[in-house]
């Protein structure tokens, strides 16, 4: 399956982060949907079949983010959690709510692309 056929949901509260992710993933042929708020997140989850994967940056969101992560798991959408810091608690919460992996900011573009490719291939 070509990258252009994949759509990735990007959850991030900073507009510039969303722009940068969309730009770099777009260069690789991925289509993206940006969500900067819970409302936008919920709206994207209304049509779960159109989403092939998600990248959830938990910075700026409260504990309700884990409920949305559960929804992603239920919808069988593979997702990565992006954390602002290395933390065992965050890692534990992420994995227990269905995340495939946890990445710590700042991300290295090449590494991110590699991880996305591998989870989509599964």
């Amino acid at each position: 399956m070509a990258a252009s056929t994949y759509t990735i949901l990007l959850v991030n509260y900073l507009p510039r982060n969303l722009e940068l992710l969309a730009e770099h993933l777009g260069k690789e042929g991925y289509q993206t949907i940006g969500a900067g708020t819970y409302a936008a997140f919920d709206q994207a989850l209304n049509v779960p079949s159109s989403i092939h994967g998600a990248l959830v940056d938990i910075s700026g969101f409260d504990s309700q983010i884990w409920r949305r992560c559960e929804q992603l798991r239920t919808a069988k959408i593979p997702f990565l959690v992006v954390s602002p810091q290395q933390s065992t608690a965050i890692q534990h919460a992420s994995l227990s709510h269905g995340a495939r992996s946890v990445m710590v900011k700042p991300l290295v573009i090449k590494e991110l692309l590699g991880v996305i490719k591998s989870i989509l291939a599964e």
């Binding site: 991030n12 900073l14 510039r16 940068l20 992710l21 910075s59 900011k105 700042p106 290295v108 573009i109």
Partner: protein
């Protein structure tokens, strides 16, 4: 009488204004051969003509040390040489830079800018990001913008302020070094001479940039003065040591440390008469050109007046003299000399005498040396008086005044100037003392004046202690300062003990014996 000096500069000395920098008929200036002017005359002199073209130079210094100002000089000088210049700013926004530059009198109309400084929108959430490191996000667009602008303009001069900003766009030290080296190589290959600055601190030293640069210019603000030092200059020699620097309303000025051996001028070492026959007898003709004469004595004894007397005679021959007065106001000096029949005001009007008051703690010795050099090299002064040694030491900023004075008087000596050093001794009477400040070694000639008390009256005597180039009269003579001028009497052969302060007449002494 026509001065007998031949005013021809020896090739190794560098005159203050380089002939090569004069505008050509089409209004475009020309560089010294193989050099690029920095736009700061004194710095060009330190660099023996300017920067070697198509190389990259690091300008380093703390905040407010003048790095950006030097960059502006460099680019605006380029415009006057018909060279395109580009200022790449990574810190200070272009508008701010231009406003500050205009306040200093720079005309940046023809200077191009590439503003890569963060704008205010970055502070807002819209521009803030943390998902990737700045190195991942900013490096490529920044590099791309520089590449495009350089290829579009093909500038001959580039200023990058500050290169250290690139450190934040690199993932590690190796990447930074590689990026800086490749950027500098690219700029140089495009034909540019590059000046890049660094914001050095204890937390982020810039040693790596110093290794990468072809030359390193250090700008430092010390406690009471600013200095420039060159620590590296590939492909050229340079004037070592620290050189005084000043940031003024007109930008940067550098005052190179005076190296006397680099300035020579052929001259005939003839003798300058004082115009007072008895004084000339005492000196066996007068004072020679290219010698340093110390006139020493207690306060009010007539040291300055005696020095100006030599200048009066020099003026009669159409020669120029300069008095640098550190203590006495100009008007007092003029009035005092006029009262002694020395026509100083008409000398000043005719341009044969300049009296230059030196403001306390205003100049460094290097700056003062530049003022003196201008008088010698541009106004052709042949007699220079420093009034006084104590004033020079006390009123010039910085340390090591005596070493600077040594260099200055040796320079004047090499240029064939007759130097008069006025030296005040503290003791009015009593045991004779040549100088209080151990500077007598500088002098080729020492003329001393003393008070003596004779039959209840204060009188003055004059004598010569040392004269390197000729013999001199060993006797003391009476000196009188009258409204008709300086009068020197016949030798005081009937008195003895004048130097010890216990004067007796020779006849009286004989009777006592």
């Amino acid at each position: 009488m026509v001065p007998s000096k031949k005013r021809t500069f020896a090739p190794k000395g560098m005159p203050l204004e380089r002939k090569g920098s004069a505008p050509s008929p089409n209004g475009v200036r020309e560089h010294a051969p193989g050099r690029v002017s920095t736009g700061v005359a004194g710095l060009d002199e330190v660099l023996y003509g300017g920067l070697v073209p198509q190389r990259a130079y690091l300008v380093r210094g703390g905040p407010g040390s003048g790095k950006t100002t030097l960059g502006l000089h460099f680019l605006t000088a380029g415009i006057s040489y018909g060279e395109q210049g580009l200022f790449v700013t990574l810190g200070e926004p272009e508008e701010e830079l231009c406003a500050n530059a205009q306040a200093l009198g720079f005309d940046l109309t023809d200077v191009h800018f590439l503003d890569l400084s963060p704008n205010s929108a970055f502070f807002t959430q819209m521009q803030t990001y943390d998902i990737f490191s700045p190195a991942e996000v900013e490096r490529e667009p920044v590099t791309q913008q520089i590449l495009e602008r350089i290829q579009q303009l093909r500038p001959r001069r580039v200023v990058l302020d500050a290169m250290t900003q690139f450190r934040y766009l690199s993932t590690d030290a190796f990447q930074f070094r590689k990026q800086v080296l490749s950027l500098l190589r690219f700029l140089v290959e495009q034909g540019a001479t590059v000046c890049f600055s660094s914001e050095e601190s204890a937390a982020a030293p810039d040693d790596d940039l110093q290794f990468m640069a072809d030359g390193v210019i250090h700008l430092q603000a010390l406690s009471d003065t600013r200095v420039v030092t060159i620590s590296k200059f590939r492909g050229s020699d340079f004037r070592g040591g620290t050189h005084a620097m000043r940031l003024t309303q007109r930008g940067m000025e550098v005052f190179p440390r005076l190296l006397p051996e680099q300035h020579t001028q052929s001259f005939v070492p003839d003798t300058l008469s004082s115009g007072v026959p008895e004084l000339d007898e005492l000196l066996h003709g007068g004072l020679e050109r290219g010698t340093i004469s110390m006139i020493t004595g207690p306060t009010g004894v007539g040291k300055t007046t005696l020095g100006v007397q030599f200048m009066k005679e020099a003026a009669g021959r159409g020669e120029r003299s300069v008095v640098y007065t550190f203590e006495e106001p100009q008007e007092t000096l003029l009035r005092r000399c006029e009262a002694l029949n020395i026509p100083v005001r008409s000398m000043v009007e005719r341009g044969t005498l300049s009296v230059v008051p030196i403001e306390p703690l205003h100049f460094t010795p290097d700056e003062f040396a530049r003022i003196v050099r201008q008088a010698v090299e541009q106004e052709h002064a042949s007699v220079v008086m420093i009034d006084s040694l104590a004033g020079y030491r006390a009123l010039l900023r910085g340390d090591d005044a005596l070493t600077h004075l040594h260099a200055l008087v040796k320079y004047l000596q090499n240029m064939g100037v007759a130097v008069l050093l006025i030296n005040e001794v503290a003791s009015i009477t009593g045991e004779f003392q040549v100088s209080d400040i151990a500077a007598s070694y500088l002098a080729d000639n020492i003329v001393f004046l003393r008070y003596l008390e004779l039959r209840g009256e204060i009188r003055r005597v004059i004598g010569v202690l040392k004269k390197r180039l000729s013999s001199f009269e060993r006797t003391l003579r009476e000196l009188e300062l009258t409204r008709y001028g300086i009068k020197v009497g016949t030798p005081l052969t009937n008195l003895q003990g004048i130097l010890t302060g216990r004067i007796t007449s020779v006849e009286q002494s004989g009777k006592e014996d």
